[in-house]
Protein backbone atom coordinates (compact mmCIF):
# COMPACT_ATOMS: atom_id res chain seq x y z
CA UNK A 1 0.00 0.00 0.00
CA UNK A 2 1.29 3.45 -0.95
CA UNK A 3 0.36 6.13 1.60
CA UNK A 4 0.34 9.85 0.90
CA UNK A 5 -0.14 12.76 3.29
CA UNK A 6 -1.04 16.16 1.85
CA UNK A 7 -0.38 19.33 3.84
CA UNK A 8 -2.13 22.52 2.82
CA UNK A 9 -4.03 25.45 4.23
CA UNK A 10 -7.81 25.63 4.35
CA UNK A 11 -9.03 26.89 0.98
CA UNK A 12 -5.97 25.78 -1.01
CA UNK A 13 -7.62 22.64 -2.32
CA UNK A 14 -5.72 19.95 -0.45
CA UNK A 15 -8.92 17.98 0.17
CA UNK A 16 -9.87 18.16 -3.50
CA UNK A 17 -6.32 17.18 -4.51
CA UNK A 18 -6.72 14.05 -2.38
CA UNK A 19 -10.03 13.20 -4.07
CA UNK A 20 -8.58 13.84 -7.54
CA UNK A 21 -5.56 11.65 -6.79
CA UNK A 22 -7.80 8.83 -5.54
CA UNK A 23 -9.97 9.14 -8.64
CA UNK A 24 -6.92 9.06 -10.96
CA UNK A 25 -5.57 5.98 -9.17
CA UNK A 26 -9.00 4.41 -9.44
CA UNK A 27 -9.02 5.11 -13.18
CA UNK A 28 -5.61 3.39 -13.31
CA UNK A 29 -7.40 0.28 -12.04
CA UNK A 30 -6.08 0.57 -8.49
CA UNK A 31 -7.95 0.68 -5.22
CA UNK A 32 -7.77 4.09 -3.59
CA UNK A 33 -9.23 6.03 -0.69
CA UNK A 34 -9.06 9.74 0.08
CA UNK A 35 -9.66 10.89 3.58
CA UNK A 36 -9.47 14.46 4.81
CA UNK A 37 -8.72 14.98 8.46
CA UNK A 38 -11.22 17.55 9.59
CA UNK A 39 -10.39 19.78 12.49
CA UNK A 40 -11.86 23.19 13.10
CA UNK A 41 -11.77 24.16 9.41
CA UNK A 42 -11.29 27.72 8.35
CA UNK A 43 -9.54 29.43 5.50
CA UNK A 44 -5.80 29.59 6.05
CA UNK A 45 -5.56 27.01 8.84
CA UNK A 46 -3.18 24.06 8.28
CA UNK A 47 -5.14 21.00 7.09
CA UNK A 48 -4.11 17.43 6.32
CA UNK A 49 -5.54 14.96 3.83
CA UNK A 50 -4.65 11.32 3.32
CA UNK A 51 -4.61 9.15 0.20
CA UNK A 52 -4.02 5.40 0.10
CA UNK A 53 -3.39 3.49 -3.13
CA UNK A 54 -3.16 -0.30 -3.33
CA UNK A 55 -3.78 -3.28 -5.59
CA UNK A 56 -6.05 -4.75 -2.91
CA UNK A 57 -9.21 -3.28 -1.34
CA UNK A 58 -8.27 -0.84 1.44
CA UNK A 59 -9.75 -1.44 4.88
CA UNK A 60 -7.77 1.12 6.85
CA UNK A 61 -9.64 4.20 8.08
CA UNK A 62 -7.18 5.57 10.60
CA UNK A 63 -4.80 8.40 9.78
CA UNK A 64 -1.52 7.88 7.96
CA UNK A 65 1.29 7.95 10.51
CA UNK A 66 4.15 6.68 8.29
CA UNK A 67 3.64 8.11 4.80
CA UNK A 68 5.56 7.05 1.69
CA UNK A 69 5.02 10.50 0.23
CA UNK A 70 4.40 13.89 1.78
CA UNK A 71 3.01 16.68 -0.39
CA UNK A 72 3.26 20.27 0.83
CA UNK A 73 1.10 22.71 -1.12
CA UNK A 74 2.19 25.67 1.04
CA UNK A 75 5.76 25.60 2.34
CA UNK A 76 4.99 28.32 4.95
CA UNK A 77 3.26 25.49 6.86
CA UNK A 78 6.70 23.98 7.45
CA UNK A 79 7.31 26.71 10.06
CA UNK A 80 4.40 25.48 12.20
CA UNK A 81 3.92 21.81 11.26
CA UNK A 82 6.54 19.06 11.13
CA UNK A 83 5.56 17.84 7.67
CA UNK A 84 8.27 15.14 7.79
CA UNK A 85 6.75 13.52 10.88
CA UNK A 86 6.77 9.74 10.42
CA UNK A 87 8.01 9.88 6.81
CA UNK A 88 9.42 6.50 5.84
CA UNK A 89 13.21 6.27 5.57
CA UNK A 90 12.91 5.79 1.80
CA UNK A 91 10.03 8.29 1.60
CA UNK A 92 9.61 11.17 -0.81
CA UNK A 93 8.60 14.81 -0.38
CA UNK A 94 6.96 16.97 -3.04
CA UNK A 95 6.97 20.70 -2.37
CA UNK A 96 5.10 23.47 -4.12
CA UNK A 97 8.11 25.73 -4.53
CA UNK A 98 10.12 27.35 -7.29
CA UNK A 99 13.32 26.58 -5.35
CA UNK A 100 14.74 23.81 -3.18
CA UNK A 101 13.76 24.21 0.48
CA UNK A 102 16.28 23.82 3.28
CA UNK A 103 15.67 21.20 5.97
CA UNK A 104 13.85 18.78 3.68
CA UNK A 105 15.39 15.34 3.99
CA UNK A 106 14.31 12.21 2.14
CA UNK A 107 14.06 12.38 -1.63
CA UNK A 108 12.85 15.93 -1.98
CA UNK A 109 11.35 17.33 -5.17
CA UNK A 110 9.92 20.74 -5.87
CA UNK A 111 7.80 22.27 -8.57
CA UNK A 112 6.29 25.75 -8.80
CA UNK A 113 2.59 24.83 -8.80
CA UNK A 114 1.58 28.37 -7.85
CA UNK A 115 3.51 29.82 -10.80
CA UNK A 116 1.98 27.26 -13.16
CA UNK A 117 -1.56 28.12 -11.99
CA UNK A 118 -0.90 31.88 -12.25
CA UNK A 119 0.50 31.48 -15.78
CA UNK A 120 -2.92 30.14 -16.80
CA UNK A 121 -4.66 32.72 -14.60
CA UNK A 122 -6.27 29.75 -12.85
CA UNK A 123 -7.32 31.64 -9.72
CA UNK A 124 -10.49 31.21 -7.66
CA UNK A 125 -11.46 33.63 -4.88
CA UNK A 126 -7.96 35.12 -5.02
CA UNK A 127 -6.19 31.76 -4.58
CA UNK A 128 -4.25 30.02 -7.35
CA UNK A 129 -5.58 26.50 -7.99
CA UNK A 130 -2.99 23.96 -6.84
CA UNK A 131 -4.97 20.72 -6.77
CA UNK A 132 -4.98 20.12 -10.53
CA UNK A 133 -1.34 20.99 -11.31
CA UNK A 134 -0.11 18.82 -8.43
CA UNK A 135 -1.75 15.83 -10.14
CA UNK A 136 0.52 16.35 -13.14
CA UNK A 137 3.58 16.31 -10.88
CA UNK A 138 2.37 13.08 -9.29
CA UNK A 139 1.97 11.54 -12.75
CA UNK A 140 5.59 12.46 -13.52
CA UNK A 141 6.60 10.71 -10.28
CA UNK A 142 4.78 7.59 -11.44
CA UNK A 143 2.18 7.58 -8.65
CA UNK A 144 -0.60 7.68 -11.25
CA UNK A 145 -0.62 7.83 -15.06
CA UNK A 146 -1.03 11.09 -17.00
CA UNK A 147 -4.07 9.83 -19.00
CA UNK A 148 -5.85 8.92 -15.76
CA UNK A 149 -4.95 12.32 -14.29
CA UNK A 150 -6.47 14.05 -17.30
CA UNK A 151 -9.57 11.85 -17.12
CA UNK A 152 -9.99 12.46 -13.38
CA UNK A 153 -9.65 16.23 -13.82
CA UNK A 154 -12.20 16.25 -16.64
CA UNK A 155 -14.62 14.21 -14.50
CA UNK A 156 -14.45 16.80 -11.73
CA UNK A 157 -13.88 20.09 -13.59
CA UNK A 158 -15.17 21.53 -16.85
CA UNK A 159 -12.46 24.21 -17.23
CA UNK A 160 -9.86 22.73 -19.61
CA UNK A 161 -7.13 24.95 -18.10
CA UNK A 162 -7.07 22.45 -15.23
CA UNK A 163 -5.75 19.82 -17.65
CA UNK A 164 -3.25 22.32 -19.08
CA UNK A 165 -1.73 23.08 -15.69
CA UNK A 166 -1.46 19.36 -14.90
CA UNK A 167 0.45 18.86 -18.16
CA UNK A 168 2.64 21.87 -17.41
CA UNK A 169 3.56 20.50 -13.97
CA UNK A 170 4.27 17.13 -15.58
CA UNK A 171 6.72 18.84 -17.92
CA UNK A 172 8.31 21.07 -15.29
CA UNK A 173 8.96 18.56 -12.52
CA UNK A 174 12.52 17.28 -12.76
CA UNK A 175 12.95 13.61 -11.97
Amino acid sequence: MYEIRIHSRGGQGGVTAAKLLALAAFRDGKHATACPFYGAERRGAPVVSFVRIDDEPIKVYSQIHEPDLVIVLDTSIMDVVNVLDGLKADGTVLLNSAHPVAGCNGTCRHVDLTGIALAQNLVVSGSPILNTPVLGALAKMGIVTLPSVEQAIREMFSDERNVKVARAAYEELKI
Binding site: A18, K19, A22, L23, F26, H31, A32, T33, A34, C35, P36, Y38, I58, K59, V60, Y61, S62, Q63, H65
Partner: protein, 370 residues
Protein backbone atom coordinates in the same frame (compact mmCIF):
# COMPACT_ATOMS: atom_id res chain seq x y z
CA UNK B 1 -21.91 2.72 -12.69
CA UNK B 2 -18.48 2.45 -11.10
CA UNK B 3 -17.07 5.67 -9.68
CA UNK B 4 -15.70 7.03 -6.44
CA UNK B 5 -17.76 8.80 -3.81
CA UNK B 6 -17.94 9.76 -0.17
CA UNK B 7 -20.17 7.89 2.27
CA UNK B 8 -22.53 10.86 2.33
CA UNK B 9 -22.71 10.97 -1.46
CA UNK B 10 -23.43 7.23 -1.54
CA UNK B 11 -26.42 7.70 0.77
CA UNK B 12 -27.72 10.57 -1.38
CA UNK B 13 -27.34 8.47 -4.54
CA UNK B 14 -29.22 5.55 -2.97
CA UNK B 15 -32.02 7.94 -2.00
CA UNK B 16 -32.10 9.24 -5.56
CA UNK B 17 -32.52 5.66 -6.79
CA UNK B 18 -35.22 4.88 -4.20
CA UNK B 19 -37.23 7.97 -5.27
CA UNK B 20 -38.95 8.97 -2.02
CA UNK B 21 -41.98 11.23 -2.51
CA UNK B 22 -41.04 13.44 0.44
CA UNK B 23 -37.69 14.33 1.99
CA UNK B 24 -37.68 16.57 5.05
CA UNK B 25 -34.34 17.33 6.65
CA UNK B 26 -32.25 19.81 8.57
CA UNK B 27 -28.51 20.02 7.91
CA UNK B 28 -25.97 19.17 10.61
CA UNK B 29 -22.27 18.33 10.47
CA UNK B 30 -21.19 15.73 9.33
CA UNK B 31 -24.49 14.82 7.61
CA UNK B 32 -24.80 18.06 5.63
CA UNK B 33 -23.49 16.73 2.31
CA UNK B 34 -26.32 14.15 2.20
CA UNK B 35 -29.10 16.73 2.32
CA UNK B 36 -27.20 19.24 0.14
CA UNK B 37 -26.74 16.60 -2.55
CA UNK B 38 -30.37 15.46 -2.36
CA UNK B 39 -31.55 19.07 -2.54
CA UNK B 40 -29.41 19.47 -5.68
CA UNK B 41 -30.96 16.37 -7.21
CA UNK B 42 -34.44 17.71 -6.50
CA UNK B 43 -33.83 21.27 -7.73
CA UNK B 44 -31.91 19.98 -10.76
CA UNK B 45 -34.82 17.80 -11.81
CA UNK B 46 -32.92 14.55 -11.22
CA UNK B 47 -35.20 13.45 -8.38
CA UNK B 48 -38.93 14.05 -8.45
CA UNK B 49 -39.63 14.58 -4.79
CA UNK B 50 -40.97 17.18 -2.40
CA UNK B 51 -37.99 18.48 -0.43
CA UNK B 52 -39.06 20.25 2.76
CA UNK B 53 -36.30 22.39 4.33
CA UNK B 54 -37.70 22.33 7.85
CA UNK B 55 -36.67 24.58 10.76
CA UNK B 56 -35.51 21.78 13.08
CA UNK B 57 -34.95 18.05 13.33
CA UNK B 58 -38.08 17.64 15.46
CA UNK B 59 -40.00 19.14 12.56
CA UNK B 60 -38.07 17.01 10.05
CA UNK B 61 -39.30 13.82 11.68
CA UNK B 62 -42.79 15.29 12.20
CA UNK B 63 -42.98 16.13 8.48
CA UNK B 64 -41.76 12.62 7.61
CA UNK B 65 -44.44 11.13 9.87
CA UNK B 66 -47.17 13.16 8.16
CA UNK B 67 -45.89 12.35 4.69
CA UNK B 68 -45.42 8.64 5.38
CA UNK B 69 -48.88 8.39 6.96
CA UNK B 70 -50.16 10.07 3.81
CA UNK B 71 -48.86 7.11 1.83
CA UNK B 72 -45.55 8.17 0.28
CA UNK B 73 -42.00 6.88 0.66
CA UNK B 74 -40.15 9.21 3.01
CA UNK B 75 -36.51 9.88 3.89
CA UNK B 76 -34.56 12.07 6.27
CA UNK B 77 -30.99 12.29 7.52
CA UNK B 78 -29.47 13.63 10.69
CA UNK B 79 -26.67 13.24 13.21
CA UNK B 80 -25.93 13.48 16.90
CA UNK B 81 -27.69 16.45 18.49
CA UNK B 82 -30.13 16.54 15.58
CA UNK B 83 -31.15 12.96 16.30
CA UNK B 84 -31.60 13.76 19.98
CA UNK B 85 -33.67 16.82 19.16
CA UNK B 86 -36.10 14.67 17.14
CA UNK B 87 -36.23 11.94 19.82
CA UNK B 88 -39.92 12.31 20.68
CA UNK B 89 -40.90 11.98 17.02
CA UNK B 90 -38.50 9.03 16.55
CA UNK B 91 -40.62 7.07 19.03
CA UNK B 92 -43.78 8.23 17.31
CA UNK B 93 -42.66 7.12 13.84
CA UNK B 94 -42.18 3.55 15.05
CA UNK B 95 -45.33 3.50 17.17
CA UNK B 96 -47.39 4.73 14.20
CA UNK B 97 -45.80 1.92 12.14
CA UNK B 98 -44.40 4.25 9.48
CA UNK B 99 -41.59 2.80 7.31
CA UNK B 100 -39.47 5.95 7.25
CA UNK B 101 -35.79 5.57 6.34
CA UNK B 102 -33.28 7.81 8.09
CA UNK B 103 -29.53 8.05 7.63
CA UNK B 104 -27.78 8.88 10.88
CA UNK B 105 -24.17 9.99 10.55
CA UNK B 106 -22.81 8.86 13.90
CA UNK B 107 -21.26 11.71 15.85
CA UNK B 108 -20.38 12.34 19.47
CA UNK B 109 -22.52 14.43 21.80
CA UNK B 110 -21.49 17.66 23.48
CA UNK B 111 -20.12 19.04 25.60
CA UNK B 112 -17.26 19.21 24.70
CA UNK B 113 -18.35 20.08 21.26
CA UNK B 114 -17.21 17.30 18.94
CA UNK B 115 -18.23 16.45 15.39
CA UNK B 116 -16.35 13.13 15.06
CA UNK B 117 -17.52 9.54 15.11
CA UNK B 118 -19.23 7.87 18.06
CA UNK B 119 -22.23 5.52 18.30
CA UNK B 120 -23.83 6.84 21.49
CA UNK B 121 -26.22 8.98 19.42
CA UNK B 122 -27.77 5.96 17.70
CA UNK B 123 -27.77 3.81 20.81
CA UNK B 124 -29.70 6.51 22.65
CA UNK B 125 -32.57 5.63 20.26
CA UNK B 126 -32.20 1.91 21.01
CA UNK B 127 -35.65 1.40 22.52
CA UNK B 128 -37.70 3.43 20.04
CA UNK B 129 -38.75 0.50 17.83
CA UNK B 130 -36.51 1.47 14.90
CA UNK B 131 -34.43 -1.11 13.13
CA UNK B 132 -30.77 -0.07 13.15
CA UNK B 133 -28.05 -1.11 10.73
CA UNK B 134 -24.41 0.08 10.84
CA UNK B 135 -22.28 0.17 7.70
CA UNK B 136 -18.51 -0.03 7.20
CA UNK B 137 -17.82 1.07 3.62
CA UNK B 138 -19.06 3.66 1.11
CA UNK B 139 -20.52 0.85 -1.01
CA UNK B 140 -22.33 -0.57 1.97
CA UNK B 141 -23.77 2.86 2.82
CA UNK B 142 -25.36 2.85 -0.64
CA UNK B 143 -26.52 -0.76 -0.55
CA UNK B 144 -27.88 -0.64 3.01
CA UNK B 145 -29.84 2.54 2.30
CA UNK B 146 -31.51 0.92 -0.71
CA UNK B 147 -32.30 -2.24 1.23
CA UNK B 148 -33.58 -0.20 4.20
CA UNK B 149 -36.58 1.00 2.17
CA UNK B 150 -37.49 -2.54 1.13
CA UNK B 151 -37.13 -3.93 4.66
CA UNK B 152 -39.05 -1.07 6.31
CA UNK B 153 -41.90 -1.17 3.81
CA UNK B 154 -42.42 -4.94 3.98
CA UNK B 155 -45.87 -5.52 5.47
CA UNK B 156 -44.38 -8.00 7.93
CA UNK B 157 -42.21 -5.16 9.29
CA UNK B 158 -43.72 -1.69 8.79
CA UNK B 159 -41.15 -0.15 11.09
CA UNK B 160 -38.69 2.65 10.38
CA UNK B 161 -35.04 1.88 9.65
CA UNK B 162 -31.99 3.89 10.69
CA UNK B 163 -28.87 3.50 8.52
CA UNK B 164 -25.81 4.46 10.56
CA UNK B 165 -22.45 5.53 9.16
CA UNK B 166 -19.45 6.85 11.07
CA UNK B 167 -19.07 10.63 11.01
CA UNK B 168 -16.08 11.79 8.90
CA UNK B 169 -14.39 8.35 9.07
CA UNK B 170 -16.99 7.11 6.57
CA UNK B 171 -19.19 10.09 5.74
CA UNK B 172 -16.23 12.01 4.29
CA UNK B 173 -13.91 9.29 3.02
CA UNK B 174 -13.77 8.73 -0.72
CA UNK B 175 -13.88 5.10 -1.87
CA UNK B 176 -15.13 3.23 -4.92
CA UNK B 177 -18.90 3.08 -5.40
CA UNK B 178 -20.86 0.92 -7.82
CA UNK B 179 -24.34 2.39 -8.25
CA UNK B 180 -27.01 0.12 -9.70
CA UNK B 181 -30.11 0.26 -11.87
CA UNK B 182 -32.58 -0.85 -9.21
CA UNK B 183 -35.32 -1.88 -11.66
CA UNK B 184 -38.24 -3.27 -9.65
CA UNK B 185 -36.13 -4.05 -6.56
CA UNK B 186 -38.28 -1.56 -4.66
CA UNK B 187 -41.99 -2.14 -5.29
CA UNK B 188 -44.32 0.89 -5.34
CA UNK B 189 -44.88 2.26 -1.84
CA UNK B 190 -47.94 0.78 -0.20
CA UNK B 191 -48.95 1.57 3.36
CA UNK B 192 -51.98 -0.50 4.42
CA UNK B 193 -53.04 2.11 6.96
CA UNK B 194 -52.34 5.17 4.82
CA UNK B 195 -54.61 8.15 5.39
CA UNK B 196 -57.46 8.06 2.88
CA UNK B 197 -59.41 11.29 2.57
CA UNK B 198 -62.29 9.36 0.98
CA UNK B 199 -62.50 7.17 4.06
CA UNK B 200 -61.54 9.28 7.10
CA UNK B 201 -60.36 7.36 10.18
CA UNK B 202 -58.86 8.42 13.49
CA UNK B 203 -55.22 7.52 14.22
CA UNK B 204 -53.31 7.61 17.50
CA UNK B 205 -56.24 8.33 19.83
CA UNK B 206 -56.24 7.72 23.59
CA UNK B 207 -55.40 4.05 24.05
CA UNK B 208 -56.13 2.72 27.50
CA UNK B 209 -54.40 0.15 29.70
CA UNK B 210 -56.55 -2.62 28.26
CA UNK B 211 -55.19 -2.13 24.74
CA UNK B 212 -51.91 -0.19 24.75
CA UNK B 213 -49.72 -3.24 25.42
CA UNK B 214 -51.19 -4.97 22.35
CA UNK B 215 -49.70 -2.26 20.12
CA UNK B 216 -46.34 -2.60 21.85
CA UNK B 217 -46.39 -6.38 21.42
CA UNK B 218 -47.23 -5.87 17.75
CA UNK B 219 -44.06 -3.77 17.37
CA UNK B 220 -42.03 -6.54 18.97
CA UNK B 221 -43.69 -9.20 16.85
CA UNK B 222 -42.75 -7.27 13.71
CA UNK B 223 -39.25 -6.69 15.06
CA UNK B 224 -38.89 -10.48 15.42
CA UNK B 225 -40.35 -11.06 11.95
CA UNK B 226 -37.94 -8.48 10.54
CA UNK B 227 -35.04 -10.93 10.99
CA UNK B 228 -36.45 -13.16 8.27
CA UNK B 229 -37.33 -10.18 6.08
CA UNK B 230 -33.81 -8.77 6.40
CA UNK B 231 -32.39 -12.15 5.34
CA UNK B 232 -34.77 -12.33 2.36
CA UNK B 233 -33.99 -8.79 1.21
CA UNK B 234 -30.23 -9.21 1.62
CA UNK B 235 -30.40 -12.47 -0.33
CA UNK B 236 -32.42 -10.88 -3.13
CA UNK B 237 -29.99 -7.97 -3.22
CA UNK B 238 -27.09 -10.41 -3.58
CA UNK B 239 -28.85 -12.25 -6.40
CA UNK B 240 -29.66 -9.05 -8.28
CA UNK B 241 -26.55 -6.98 -7.65
CA UNK B 242 -23.89 -9.48 -6.53
CA UNK B 243 -23.07 -8.07 -3.10
CA UNK B 244 -23.84 -10.14 0.00
CA UNK B 245 -24.59 -8.91 3.48
CA UNK B 246 -25.69 -10.54 6.73
CA UNK B 247 -26.32 -9.67 10.36
CA UNK B 248 -22.55 -9.65 10.87
CA UNK B 249 -19.54 -9.58 8.57
CA UNK B 250 -17.25 -12.37 9.74
CA UNK B 251 -13.56 -12.32 8.86
CA UNK B 252 -11.28 -15.33 9.41
CA UNK B 253 -13.52 -16.51 12.27
CA UNK B 254 -13.77 -20.23 11.39
CA UNK B 255 -10.80 -21.47 13.42
CA UNK B 256 -10.30 -18.35 15.54
CA UNK B 257 -9.42 -18.63 19.24
CA UNK B 258 -10.21 -14.95 19.74
CA UNK B 259 -12.74 -12.78 17.90
CA UNK B 260 -12.87 -8.97 17.79
CA UNK B 261 -16.43 -7.62 17.70
CA UNK B 262 -16.76 -4.03 16.55
CA UNK B 263 -19.12 -1.75 14.62
CA UNK B 264 -18.67 0.49 11.58
CA UNK B 265 -15.24 1.57 10.32
CA UNK B 266 -13.47 0.13 13.39
CA UNK B 267 -14.96 -3.22 12.38
CA UNK B 268 -13.27 -2.92 8.96
CA UNK B 269 -10.00 -1.66 10.44
CA UNK B 270 -10.10 -4.73 12.72
CA UNK B 271 -9.72 -6.96 9.66
CA UNK B 272 -6.29 -5.45 9.03
CA UNK B 273 -5.38 -6.14 12.66
CA UNK B 274 -6.54 -9.75 12.20
CA UNK B 275 -4.19 -10.22 9.22
CA UNK B 276 -1.28 -8.87 11.29
CA UNK B 277 -2.14 -11.14 14.23
CA UNK B 278 -2.44 -14.17 11.95
CA UNK B 279 1.02 -13.34 10.55
CA UNK B 280 2.29 -13.56 14.14
CA UNK B 281 0.63 -16.96 14.60
CA UNK B 282 -2.30 -15.71 16.68
CA UNK B 283 -5.54 -17.33 15.52
CA UNK B 284 -7.76 -14.25 15.55
CA UNK B 285 -10.90 -13.31 13.64
CA UNK B 286 -13.25 -10.35 13.52
CA UNK B 287 -17.01 -9.99 13.51
CA UNK B 288 -18.40 -6.65 12.41
CA UNK B 289 -21.85 -6.20 13.91
CA UNK B 290 -24.09 -4.78 11.15
CA UNK B 291 -27.56 -5.04 12.65
CA UNK B 292 -27.99 -3.68 16.17
CA UNK B 293 -31.82 -3.83 16.18
CA UNK B 294 -32.95 -6.50 15.79
CA UNK B 295 -29.86 -7.76 17.64
CA UNK B 296 -28.52 -10.86 15.87
CA UNK B 297 -27.68 -14.27 17.33
CA UNK B 298 -23.90 -14.49 17.55
CA UNK B 299 -21.98 -17.74 17.24
CA UNK B 300 -19.02 -17.12 19.53
CA UNK B 301 -19.08 -20.16 21.81
CA UNK B 302 -15.69 -21.37 23.00
CA UNK B 303 -13.72 -18.30 21.92
CA UNK B 304 -12.28 -15.32 23.68
CA UNK B 305 -14.13 -12.18 22.61
CA UNK B 306 -12.78 -8.63 22.47
CA UNK B 307 -15.53 -6.02 22.07
CA UNK B 308 -14.70 -2.50 20.96
CA UNK B 309 -17.39 -0.06 22.01
CA UNK B 310 -17.40 3.36 20.38
CA UNK B 311 -20.07 4.37 22.92
CA UNK B 312 -20.71 4.18 26.63
CA UNK B 313 -23.60 3.76 29.02
CA UNK B 314 -22.46 5.60 32.14
CA UNK B 315 -22.75 3.63 35.36
CA UNK B 316 -23.05 0.39 33.38
CA UNK B 317 -20.57 -0.21 30.56
CA UNK B 318 -20.06 -0.55 26.82
CA UNK B 319 -23.41 -1.02 25.09
CA UNK B 320 -22.20 -3.65 22.62
CA UNK B 321 -20.15 -5.54 25.23
CA UNK B 322 -23.12 -5.83 27.55
CA UNK B 323 -25.57 -6.66 24.75
CA UNK B 324 -23.23 -9.44 23.64
CA UNK B 325 -22.78 -10.71 27.18
CA UNK B 326 -26.53 -10.72 27.73
CA UNK B 327 -27.16 -12.61 24.47
CA UNK B 328 -24.30 -15.13 24.57
CA UNK B 329 -23.32 -15.44 28.22
CA UNK B 330 -19.72 -14.74 27.20
CA UNK B 331 -17.68 -12.37 29.38
CA UNK B 332 -15.83 -10.30 26.79
CA UNK B 333 -12.79 -8.11 27.14
CA UNK B 334 -14.52 -4.76 26.85
CA UNK B 335 -12.51 -1.97 25.22
CA UNK B 336 -13.93 1.54 25.11
CA UNK B 337 -12.18 3.17 22.16
CA UNK B 338 -12.75 5.71 19.41
CA UNK B 339 -15.01 8.03 21.41
CA UNK B 340 -15.44 11.38 19.67
CA UNK B 341 -13.24 10.24 16.79
CA UNK B 342 -10.31 9.14 19.01
CA UNK B 343 -7.66 7.74 16.69
CA UNK B 344 -7.63 3.91 16.83
CA UNK B 345 -5.33 2.10 14.39
CA UNK B 346 -5.11 -1.55 13.39
CA UNK B 347 -1.98 -1.76 15.54
CA UNK B 348 -4.00 -0.59 18.54
CA UNK B 349 -6.68 -3.20 17.80
CA UNK B 350 -4.00 -5.91 17.54
CA UNK B 351 -2.74 -4.77 20.95
CA UNK B 352 -6.27 -5.06 22.41
CA UNK B 353 -6.28 -8.69 21.31
CA UNK B 354 -2.80 -9.46 22.65
CA UNK B 355 -3.43 -7.77 25.99
CA UNK B 356 -6.96 -9.05 26.48
CA UNK B 357 -8.30 -9.79 29.96
CA UNK B 358 -11.78 -11.32 29.49
CA UNK B 359 -14.30 -10.10 32.02
CA UNK B 360 -12.67 -6.68 32.41
CA UNK B 361 -13.15 -3.26 30.86
CA UNK B 362 -10.45 -0.90 29.56
CA UNK B 363 -10.71 2.66 28.31
CA UNK B 364 -8.19 3.09 25.49
CA UNK B 365 -5.82 5.96 26.25
CA UNK B 366 -6.85 6.29 29.90
CA UNK B 367 -4.10 5.36 32.33
CA UNK B 368 -5.60 6.03 35.77
CA UNK B 369 -8.64 3.74 35.70
CA UNK B 370 -8.91 0.47 37.60
Amino acid sequence: MLTIATGNRAVADAVKAAKPGVIAAYPITPQTEIVEQIAEYVTGGNLESRYIPVESEHSAMAACIGASAGGVRTFTATSSHGLLYMHEMVHWAAGARLPIVMANVNRALGPGWNTWAEHTDAFSQRDTGWLQVFVGTVQEAYDATLMAFKIAEDERVLLPVMVNLDGFALSHITQSLDTVEIGDFLPPFHLPHAIDTENPLGYGPMTGPADYFRFRWDIERSMRDSRGVITEVEREFAERFGRSYGPTEDYRCEDADVVVVAIGTLGKEAEVAIDRLRDEGIKAGSMRLRWFRPFPDLDLAGRDVVVIDRDYSFGFGGVVAHSLKSKTGIEPYSVIAGLGGQEVTYNDIADFVKNRRPGTETWFGVSDHV
